[in-house]
């Protein structure tokens, strides 16, 4: 077990949904870093690559970062943000294929135990299967 915990980024088209989801996940997440990145650059509904990139930096942990997102554009922008950040795209940052709220809560609970990024991913993605 690592002393470092996986960080979480919550991406929603709505800033309020992202904030609320992060808040729910924090109830389960102990000292896990959970950063919300909701809405477009102007505060409207949408998703924003720059905002997601900044959230990844804030959530960054040597154990990795897991991203949860709601709809297609949020996922596309999250994948774009990982790529724009540079480095090996597969290393350390993953977009989880899980429902936003349930996935975030499970990911936070599992990350809080000091689980690896792969374990966090497996637990959250089980929600969707």
């Amino acid at each position: 077990m690592s002393t470092h915990k996986v960080g979480l980024v919550i991406v929603s088209h709505s800033a309020e949904v992202a904030r609320g989801t992060a808040e729910m996940a924090r109830q389960m997440g102990g000292d896990v870093t959970i950063v919300d990145a909701g809405g477009d650059a102007e505060g409207g509904l949408g998703s924003d690559v720059a905002k997601i990139m900044a959230a990844i930096e804030k959530a960054w942990s040597p154990a990795g970062v897991a991203i949860l997102c709601d709809l297609g554009g949020a996922e596309t922008n999250s994948e774009m943000a990982i790529e724009m950040r540079g480095g090996d795209p597969g290393a350390g940052i993953v977009v989880l294929k899980a429902p936003l709220v349930e996935g975030a809560v499970v990911a936070a609970a599992v990350a809080a135990t000091g689980a690896s990024l792969e374990e966090v991913r497996a637990a959250a993605e089980e929600m969707a299967s």
């Binding site: 690559v49 709809l71 297609g72 596309t76 922008n77 774009m80």
Partner: protein, 215 residues
């Protein structure tokens, strides 16, 4: 970059930004019918940013200009269109030989690279009622016309006609990717907004190229 290439780059940016701005409300209306209604405003913001950066972009070699323009769209457009159009341009800029001059054959190779990136980024392909349903037929027409050695005017007319027919052909399609896919059968009977923006950009680019050839 040589002066004529600089002028061409500026003209292409201006024409794309103009057509997007002029049609933004219509793109938004199309997107309101089957999506989240942000396509026009998002594209307008992104292409306005390209217009602002036109001097800087025109001074770069084409490979660098396309990369920077793509990144600008990624950062400014938002929605899924930003990463999709951004990936299109960035991948076009990575095509081997882009800085050695672009003829129709190389333009076809660039568009092929761009389309591959859009497919990967959007996890999509033709038939899903997306921009790919316009870009892929336009690429096929470009490849065919380039092989025939057609002059610029003929090439432009064929590409524009292909784009028109392809955009229209998205109407009866049922969306399986993007926000419109949530509507299922209700997406049938509407033009795809992404297909329409790709059609508009194809027209703008063809018109500039023909104008430059004539100049």
């Amino acid at each position: 970059m040589p002066q004529d290439m600089k002028r061409l780059a500026r003209a292409l940016i201006e024409a794309c930004a103009d057509t997007i701005a002029a049609n933004a409300d219509r793109l938004t209306a199309l997107d309101q019918a089957i999506g989240d209604g942000d396509h026009g405003a998002n594209m307008k913001r992104g292409f306005a940013a390209l217009r602002e950066a036109a001097d800087e972009l025109a001074a770069l070699p084409p490979s660098e200009a396309l990369k920077k323009a793509g990144m600008t769209l990624v950062m400014k457009v938002g929605g899924a269109s930003g990463p999709l159009y951004g990936s299109l341009l960035m991948a076009m800029g990575k095509t081997p030989g882009v800085d050695d001059g672009v003829d129709a054959t190389r333009a076809a190779a660039m568009l092929a690279e761009g389309i591959a990136a859009v497919k990967a980024r959007g996890k999509s392909d033709v038939g899903a009622k997306t921009m790919l349903d316009v870009l892929v037929p336009v690429h096929a027409a470009l490849e065919r016309t380039a092989a025939d050695g057609a002059d610029a005017k003929t090439l432009a007319e064929q590409l524009k006609a292909t784009a028109d027919a392809a955009a229209e052909a998205t109407k009866p399609m049922r969306a399986t990717r993007g926000r419109a896919s949530f509507l299922g059968d209700r997406s049938i009977g509407h033009l795809d907004p992404g297909g329409e923006s790709s059609r508009l950009l194809t027209h703008a680019i063809c018109d500039v190229l023909v104008g430059e050839m004539a100049a």
